[in-house]
Symmetry: C2
Subunit: 314 residues, 2 copies
């Protein structure tokens, strides 16, 4: 099997690449390095099984060429900043939906019959069932969530039309090594700028689940190995949830910081954010997977990683 | 309240226009007449409450101008041919999803806070629960269904972002006066061309529900008057289902035709078609609505209408 990973130089994508390389697979990373980093993949540079294509998923021609001979596509390139969609109504549509259709067309062009896709808990929006199961209907409150949901719909249809196998993963926030943005990053950055007062966007009560990246990668490969439907839709999350205040507390403890806290917002941190994110992972657990790290352990590993980022904290 | 109806010269749209005009409302029909017909709206031409804009929903400038002063948009323009999406992967994306985002942007530009949208049973694809309730997850097997589902997702998000009121109607096939395409049309046309043998695309066993247009219009106005959520999602269908063979039988009886029947296909009539379409309408029934016509009565009225179409059968 030969694999291509869009967004393969990104946070999650590069961990998929590592796992595939470890398994001795042939791997093509397709990335435009808008948020992906060479640093995350450069250790494979001299491996003959590894190939890098610097390209944009909007470039249909290059994408078509790059999928020649590929058996399996991980489509993990995305506009992963949930917040900005409220101000910019085009970016999620283009970067999450249109590029997905480009990938599907390139698969068709090249006879590729397997796709794995990084979707999100945001498709459920402000779900009223917690933990939220996979058959909960889409109720996205952000264009990020709406365009990921739409991309799922398109994948569902192409897989039905052409009898492909599809794996759709609905992620909570991932944390751990190579984490590049999100609440831990934001809070650490703020603390660096002002160690005396920490501003939180919400009132501190929003509840979120997170998943440590190595647990997440294990979940993905468990699903691909064991899930037997033609179209396999799985929540990836943690049984635990932490409030924003608890997350901040872990960071402050770990950094031995003692700022006063200032709450700027209400029940959500920004327009389109969801107050309570907790996914039902029983479908995944039935395949034999459980997270090995607690969320607290994952946050600590993330802090350790970020502390070593020379651009951020040194 | 001033209303704009995209696709207002189409089959369903023009019936919405009739009802609004009957209620003395100010109405703007926005239609490019690609499938809509002047004939369907010309009886309002001299009414001062009526205005016609010949325009395409892809024309963002004209759409923005046309929504000035509007309070409520019925977005009913669509690429309504489910079948062709298998061959043409762009048309549904553009005509169902991109135009919907254009409508949403025009609403934002003009401060319009109410939208009604014509969605479809096709969002459920090959549902395994029958009749299928509104909280069944999207599993579209056609790009028509996928793009309508995606448009729903976008409407959900814009309504959440800007606190709009939204009404999403998931329709089974509509039949009745001004019906322009679908199985009744196809079978009558075939009979005209060859009265001795009638070809059916499937094996005759697919089960479909249909709704007579006057019942459907009544359902839509019942929902708009009585539904109290911010985002209101309703199935519109019939408690009855008929097989393709039963539908053909009603047509043959009504036309007193006695062809032999030839079955061309299997369980579905074309790639992406769904074998069993039956929507759970209890949510709508709770608002006090029931269909007044049986499906058989609706089919007969459709046949009567089509028999008078000078272009088709005279």
């Amino acid at each position: 099997m030969k694999y291509l990973i869009t967004g393969g130089a990104g946070f999650i994508g590069s961990h998929i690449v590592d796992e595939l390389m470890k398994r001795g697979k042939q791997v093509v990373v397709y990335d435009n390095f808008s948020t992906g980093k060479k640093l995350f993949i450069q250790h494979h540079r001299d491996n003959p099984n590894f190939k890098l294509v610097k390209g944009d998923v909007l470039d249909q021609n290059l994408l078509n060429k790059s999928l020649a001979g590929i058996d399996f596509v991980f489509h993990f390139a995305a506009h992963a900043d949930v917040r900005s969609g409220f101000e910019n109504h085009e970016i999620d549509h283009i970067q999450n939906l249109e590029v997905t259709q480009n990938v599907l067309e390139a698969m068709l062009e090249n006879g590729v019959k397997n796709i794995a896709f990084s979707s999100t808990s945001s498709v459920y929006g402000d779900a009223t069932v917690h933990p939220t199961p996979e058959d909960y209907p889409f109720q996205p409150t952000s264009l990020y969530g709406a365009t990921k949901a739409a991309a799922e719909n398109y994948i569902y249809t192409y897989a039905s039309y052409y009898n492909w196998k599809a794996y759709i993963f609905r992620f909570v926030s991932w944390i751990g090594e190579r984490y590049t943005h999100g609440i831990i990053f934001d809070l650490m950055k703020k603390l660096k700028e002002n160690p005396k007062q920490l501003e939180l966007l919400s009132d501190g009560t929003p509840k979120k689940s997170s998943l440590y990246v190595k647990d997440g990668v294990e979940a993905i490969f468990t699903i691909i190995e064991k899930a037997e439907e033609q179209i396999n839709i799985y929540n990836l999350g943690h049984t635990e949830v932490l409030t924003v205040d608890q997350i901040a507390g872990i960071i402050l403890d770990e950094l031995e910081a003692h700022p006063t806290k200032k709450y700027l917002g209400g029940k959500v941190g920004w327009k389109g954010d969801n107050f309570f994110v907790h996914l039902d992972t029983r479908r995944l657990n039935k395949l034999g997977w459980k997270p090995k790290s607690t969320i607290e352990e994952g946050i600590k590993k993330t802090i350790d990683y970020l502390m070593e980022d020379p651009n951020l904290f040194k």
